[in-house]
């Protein structure tokens, strides 16, 4: 698409002019982004409600506050992040100036997702802007109202030479990926991620892929079932289960399941009342296509629906639903559910639960609920996942000091806080040597000798620092 190419060219010239490099510029842009969100909170909430039926409270926590937190954190720490990092030296380099500079890559592409349309676009933007890059922003077209709001607001608050919003569907994104970028940040599904990484390989463009997968929740050992149920329900049904870090399915013993079910029902009633469809705090499914996909899963499962199951096509509503007697090869276990359906699989021991999890792809998040620290420890040590949280769900991603990202099929790279800044920076090793000590340098020049070699071994050894 010509207009896309023109936008990228404009950003490239702006980047080459050096305008994004000074700290003042980056700080101003971040502050403006902060103003954009604060001044348009109502409009943002309305758009999110239109797209996902997102309750005001959820939107404030997961789209407004989390971004403002991140912006605040970046603005406070920008100066220190931008400083050169001085490193330890060996004897040969004792008198040299050795540091690592953080430099922007250039023009980066950020592709957002529809489940947290503002957060998943602006959180990476914070890192990209702080690192001094120019950014092409591609919001998800599935969350249409937020897409057009972002396209309207960004040019009003951020520099139009350095940041451009590009809109469109699959075709436009494909065309966009033909253009050369200096980094691509993608949040979304594994299948699309493969084609993005393949397109990136043509230009040797580094990528960050924030993908998904089935995040397991293991419940074993002694447990405060009421508290566990409440936290589980909160994490699972937040945004109607449309979170990449929502607990996708549960693993526990039959006894635990029997104790858990009434606790889950009670928690659901406490949170959403007897008719969740009428609760202002319950979200909707983003589109008819996804709604139909979820209903089809419910239709094809060989498990038993014990809670919920109600649906309303016109409202794109599905009640919080719990399904038991789900087998490992059930249709509900084939792909990431991404909806308000919670399968419970009974596995009689924590070891078998761990084996179950390890038979699958490494998830983005892994949860374990237990009052026994030995159970938590065992699960942690014997599994791998992007992130880990015990006795709660989702909240590990609210800390800007923790890297947020996947591993294996759930993704590559991480962000949040300083990690975002580092993701969008090139770490350039700089060694500034002096003109003196040419005799010492002579040790490495031909003609070679045994003597020279021993001296060289000594001066470059990592332990030689301790002599000084």
């Amino acid at each position: 698409m010509d207009s896309h190419r023109q936008a990228v060219d404009r950003l490239r010239s702006a980047f080459h002019s050096g305008v994004t490099l000074p700290e003042k510029f980056r700080r101003t842009q971040l502050t403006n982004l902060m103003s954009m969100i604060k001044e348009n909170e109502e409009q943002i909430l309305t758009a999110l409600h239109k797209d996902l039926g997102k309750p005001k409270f959820e939107a404030i926590l997961s789209e407004i506050d989390i971004v403002l937190n991140e912006l605040h954190y970046a603005i406070s720490n920008l100066t220190s992040w931008m400083q050169p990092e001085y490193v330890s030296k060996n004897l040969a380099t004792k008198l040299d100036d050795c540091s690592v500079r953080r430099e922007p890559f250039g023009v980066v592409l950020i592709i957002g997702a529809w489940n947290y349309p503002l957060q998943l676009l602006t959180l990476p933007m914070v890192g990209a802007i702080a690192a001094g890059n120019c950014v092409v922003i591609k919001p998800s077209e599935v969350s249409a109202a937020t897409d057009s709001l972002i396209a309207e607001l960004i040019p009003k608050y951020l520099s139009q030479d350095c940041y451009a919003v590009v809109r469109g569907g699959a075709e436009e994104t494909k065309a966009l990926l033909q253009i050369r970028f200096d980094h691509i940040f993608y949040t979304g599904s594994q299948s699309v991620a493969r084609s993005i990484m393949q397109a990136a390989s043509v230009h040797l463009t580094p990528v960050t892929l924030e993908l998904g997968g089935k995040c397991p929740g293991l419940i074993y050992g002694r447990i405060n079932i009421t508290a566990a149920a409440r936290r589980l329900v909160w994490a699972k049904f937040f945004n109607a289960g449309q979170s990449c870090v929502a607990p996708d399915y549960l693993l526990c013993t039959a006894a635990t399941r029997d104790a858990l079910l009434p606790a889950l029902s009670q928690a659901l009633e406490d949170f959403y009342g007897k008719e969740p469809q009428k609760s202002p705090d319950m979200s909707r499914i983003v589109s008819l296509r996804h709604w139909s996909r979820l209903i089809e899963l419910l239709g094809k499962t060989s498990g038993k629906v014990v809670v919920g199951g109600e649906r309303d096509q016109e409202d794109k509503y599905i009640a919080p639903t719990v399904v038991v007697d789900v087998a490992e090869d059930d249709v509900l276990m084939k792909e990431e559910i991404f909806g308000p359906i919670l399968p419970i699989i009974t596995v009689e021991s924590v070891e078998k639960g761990i084996d179950f999890v390890n038979r699958k792809e490494k998830p983005l998040a892994l949860y374990v609920f237990s009052d026994e620290s030995s159970v938590v420890k065992t699960v942690l040590e014997k599994t791998s996942s992007g992130g880990f949280c015990s006795n709660d769900g989702i909240v590990h991603m609210t800390l800007p000091t923790l890297p947020f990202g996947g591993v294996g099929a759930s993704g590559w790279g991480s962000y949040h806080g300083r990690w975002g800044f580092e993701t969008f920076s090139h770490r350039r090793a700089c060694m500034l040597r002096g003109w003196a000590l040419e005799r010492l340098n002579g040790l490495r020049y031909p003609p070679y000798s045994e003597d020279k070699l021993s001296w060289l071994r000594w001066t470059t050894s990592p332990k030689s620092c301790t002599l000084m």
């Binding site: 926590l61 030296k89 040969a92 050795c98 405060n224 609760s279 938590v376 800390l399």
Partner: protein, 509 residues
């Protein structure tokens, strides 16, 4: 056959035996032993591969590997330990840390120019991080490749670290298999193929590629010393180094001086006939020999130019006034040809560099600190050494890697460990303190919402400058008041004593 080796490595990894730090240390010690015990065999293999001199082997490869192993052994416990991070109000009583974990099975594809360093340095990091690793040395350095295949299983765990030898088809076969990370050193064109193959499995990659590393010589610097350092870096390993200074940029007025200094240094290093020097290498194979010779076509060198196809020998060669659009300036030379391109001044040099792909290394020879700073700020590259060449590679605390076409990812020292680990974010909470959680649950109201927002705010302490200044001022004032109070008390006590003393005195009198 490759698939079997990879499958064995995978099963060995899943057995969990690489997890304990003791096991990893034991493997690193064994690798150290291999390098020490087999130095002679390694030197012989390198001599046969690339006519590497007896001293170049330890100098260019073995010392580096030994240092990396020593560092990893010393620091491994530290590197593998969890790293605790700052919390927010919600998580104030929880354990919040980052736990480095192994990725699984790593594929390391080495290169032929430093066959031992470029396979074993990544291997050190892979072992330290607790991974299994499939090592694929380059078939072009045939003797080294076969020796590595014979040696590694004798010292290291046979299943965890298999060596797979072979050519392009074996490599392609390997790339079809799913790994948890692919670490590739080589050319940009093959780098693209590696990344594209990895994309099918969503496997992360580290690509250490190449490019044309520019070397700028300022007219006001110590040209003699500059040329000595450049000559060393350019002609070591016969120019076949990814971070060798590929070409020189300088003003026409010093071009002659540069040529003379290089000529003089070459005489000092390799004698009148470098062909007879035991310290001068050869080109790896006929194909590369022909490629490099063809780059010179149509140009008359001012130094060197001689060659001997039977020995794959090309003399250290310098060419001046090379046009920017010549073939010499289009591809990475990777041989002992040193073109000098004239630029009108430093700005011209900066523009020249910025018009081209981002290089793996950038070299600046200059005595003016401000000018150096500007040069670095207005360009980009994988790494920079100022007033020398290649040395940033030798310090393991500096991350080594490229940017843009010269690569992605970095390694050396702890950076290899980090590159081949997964940094897992861990939050360990308890099911207690449920009342704190109430504020985030529905049904929602204003009060609850406000409390939830407070709990999730990122910094417990506002780290803004204003607050810091207030904190400092308040502390100073507080201390001042405290000191003032002490002084008053002392005086009062003193007066009191004195009063008593005088009273006593009067009483006495």
């Amino acid at each position: 056959m490759e698939r079997q080796a990879v499958q064995r490595a995978k099963e060995a990894f899943l057995s969990g035996r690489t997890r304990p730090v003791e096991f990893r240390l034991q493997q690193l010690h064994a690798l150290q032993k291999m390098i020490t015990e087999k130095e002679t065999e390694i030197s012989t293999a390198l001599k046969q591969d690339i006519n590497r001199s007896q001293y170049d082997t330890p100098l260019l490869e073995l010392i580096g590997i030994e240092n990396e192993i020593k560092l990893a052994i010393e620091k491994l416990a530290d590197w593998a330990a969890p790293r605790h991070v700052e919390r927010n109000l919600l998580t104030i009583s929880d354990e919040v840390y980052i736990q480095p974990e192994p990725l699984g099975v790593v594929l390391i594809i080495g290169a032929w120019n430093y066959p031992w360093a470029l396979t074993l340095l990544p291997l050190v990091g892979a072992i330290a991080a607790g991974n299994a690793a499939v090592v694929k040395p380059s078939e072009l350095s045939e003797y080294s490749s076969l020796l590595l295949r014979a040696l590694l299983p004798r010292y290291l765990d046979k299943d965890l670290y298999p060596v797979v030898t072979g050519g392009a088809s074996e490599t392609q076969e390997l790339l079809r298999i799913r790994f948890d990370h692919v670490f590739y050193t080589g050319s940009s064109s093959v780098g693209k193929v590696v990344m594209e193959a990895a994309a099918r499995h969503l496997t992360p990659v580290t690509l250490e590629l190449g490019g044309k590393s520019p070397c700028y010589i300022d007219k006001d610097c110590d040209i003699r010393v500059a040329c000595r350092r450049i000559t060393w870096g350019k002609f070591v390993n016969c120019g076949q180094t990814c971070i060798a200074p590929d070409y020189i940029l300088c003003e026409p007025c010093i071009q002659g001086r540069v040529v003379e200094c290089i000529r003089h240094t070459l005489l000092e290093f390799y004698g009148a006939d470098p062909k007879c020097s035991p310290d001068y290498g050869r080109i790896i194979n006929q194909r590369h020999f022909n490629r490099i010779m063809s780059l010179m076509e149509g140009y008359t060198p001012v130094v060197g130019g001689q060659s001997d196809s039977s020995q794959r020998y090309i003399a250290p060669t310098v060419l001046k006034d090379v046009p920017p659009h010549s073939r010499l300036m289009q591809e990475e030379i990777f041989g002992p040809l040193l073109p000098i391109v004239a630029v009108s001044d430093m700005d011209d040099a900066i523009n020249f560099i910025n018009e081209r792909e981002k290089p793996l290394a950038l070299y600046i020879f200059c005595s003016d600190k401000k000018a150096i700073k500007r040069f670095i700020e207005e360009t980009t590259s994988g790494g920079v050494t100022v007033n020398d060449v290649m040395m940033h590679y030798t310090l393991s605390s500096l991350p080594f890697g490229g940017v843009g076409q010269s690569g992605m990812g970095r390694y050396h020292g702890k950076h290899t460990f980090d590159q081949l680990s997964h940094q897992r974010a861990c939050l360990v909470r308890s099911l207690g303190m449920e009342s704190v959680n109430l504020s985030r649950y529905p049904p929602q109201d204003r009060r609850r919402a406000r409390r939830a927002r407070m709990a999730l705010k990122s910094s417990l302490i506002d780290m803004s400058k204003r607050t810091l200044i207030w904190a400092i001022v308040a502390t100073i004032i507080g201390c001042g008041l405290f000191i003032a109070l002490l002084v008053i008390l002392l005086i009062a006590a003193g007066l009191n004593c004195t009063c008593w003393y005088w009273r006593g005195f009067y009483n006495y009198w």
